[in-house]
Symmetry: C5
Subunit: 168 residues, 5 copies
């Protein structure tokens, strides 16, 4: 993967018809605001299990510098397993493409209520959209936040205080 | 994957002897009605664990533009694990073929009763048959429904209302 | 995979020392009775986790047209996980060989009693032995039974009755 | 894999620092006693998750005919998952090497007490060491015990009695 | 993998923004103290699921002799599954790179309290940093501790006493 300037970076977005929120619109809005020169390419698949191959096919056609795989995992027990299988597919797809595919999954059960769930969708997608651009353009930027308890979807957990030194 | 006109698309269908409903007949009927020029090729395997390799072998012989893997996951606990293993195989098969294999699995326990289960079989298979044709021919069509809570097997869940804006 | 006449088909059988029933003997007997000209090659491995590589090595040496992987999954909780790992290995092996490996696993806990368990061993192995030959020689034969609720190990579940049509 | 005479076979052993028993010493002792001409090569990794790559690296350097992956899975819940991930890695490693890697895992919870656990370590490792040599040199030897309920770690379960014939 | 002198070894470290402790700083400090000539290269990714591809990309750019994948698995149920998927990705990445990637995962629930958790982070990372250097430079050093119940994160479990010999 060649590193590119954030302004000239090309991000591939694959999202789903299954999700109950238009996740791609958050990602596109965030990238356009923060990185106005970045190019965005996009495709849509039925559900999370189609994301891995969707990323591979979008990559074949558009050669983005990094990808975002956006999906919702439904609340039923079967859905949790589907999400797991989808994630394994995405792990393998990343290694085949030798590119970052930032997986942005929101589980329907994560939210305390609908408004909370919606805000998780928006917050997680926006933050990971920035991560995808930085991974493709300026990855050393992320090292500034290494071990800082960064969260997507919620407020950051923050860094733990060091334990008082015991004699070792 | 080259994009094709829906009228000239070739869809591979692999189904199973294990399923208690003739899922392929729904898929074939739906494709023939909606996309009269589409070509369909088909093979049958014993059960869901044979679908991944069944798709690869059908692809080798017939070179379809996209595939449908149709199967039923039985109600016993062992069956759930088989379905999981089958899905992992299908994830890997997609990445090897670099083609969409739309997985249409119905879990025997999903239905409230036999009539409900039957209608899940029909609805899910028909809708995903359309998805497979569109993915192979006109994938931008799917982006119109991105984030709209589309469901196969049941009525659509629909899109969530945006959360009222909090100060961020 | 080239299709062959069932009479000249070559089937690879890999079984285990762990199983408490000589599964291979059922498979061999069934194939010899139903497809007298078929050739059988065979090897044995310690347990189910050795089946995937056992199939690959037998394939390398003997180039069968399709394989049977015969194993028993023990009744302990650890055994269930071993069976799962073995199945994932077999999924990957099939895709590497581009051949059907019909997995015939019997779970020690499936049987109501020892006699029932034994009959599952015999019934499942014999039926899948026929499936393996047909997949390698005459796969369209299987499509006659698509969606018919065929079972191996037990009596067939049969096909579901269509749901009464509701207005859609 | 070329078959070799047991006397000239070369076995690769990879064990771990995590295990609480020196499993490799059992394997080495057993092989040296039963197959005096066999050559043994060996390396050690931190824990079970390092075994798959440890086997691949030992293979690259020493080209053994078959390998033994020796490890202990700890008693904590997290450890069970680690063992599962390790086993998946080993499944994939076998298919890449096209060689048997006999996985000898002992779960810390298997033992009724410490003495029982220790005897499982010894019995399972010794028996699988013999299996590894035979798989690499004389695999048809294993077929003599096909379906006989062979166990490693415990006494053999033995073969089930055939079910009384019912009219089929 | 060529073995190198510990003094000239090059270690790749990939850590995450998600972790609540700066794990890389422990690894860097430990390696610099114990192996002053060793070279360290480093990158940071958002979370554990990005570690496998992060290692592959760092390897492509820097060609380290071995890698450390440092991450925290959160306390929620979803996080446990993410950790599992991350580990599978790392297993596959190791086999693709043919290099050791020492996975250093700390589960947020492991600690009895915050101070305990912090000490697990430090102890596990420091010990595995040494392991990574030795695996890349002097792996026979690890064989001295084979089967000794070595632990990272806690005190060593130690070696089990042999069982009193029963007549076999």
């Amino acid at each position: 993967m060649k590193r590119r300037n954030a302004a000239s970076v090309k991000i591939g977005i694959v999202d789903t018809m299954f999700a109950r929120v238009d996740m791609a619109s958050f990602a596109i809005d965030e990238i356009q605001k923060k990185f106005p020169g970045a190019k965005i390419v996009r495709s849509t698949v039925p559900g999370v299990k189609d994301l891995a191959i969707g990323c591979v096919l979008l990559d074949e056609k558009e050669k983005p510098d990094a990808l975002l795989a956006l999906g919702m995992v439904g609340g039923a027990k079967i859905d949790a397993q589907c999400g797991h299988e989808a994630s394994i597919g995405i792990q393998i797809a990343k290694l085949r493409l030798k590119k970052h595919i930032v997986e942005v999954f929101v589980h329907e059960r994560e939210g305390a209520d609908e408004a909370d769930l919606y805000s998780i969708f928006e917050d997680r997608t926006r933050k990971h959209a920035v991560n995808a651009v930085l991974l493709a353009s300026n990855p050393s930027e992320l090292s500034k936040f290494a071990g800082r308890g960064k969260r997507q979807g919620r407020a950051d957990a923050g860094q733990m205080a060091p334990a008082p030194k015991k004699s070792r």
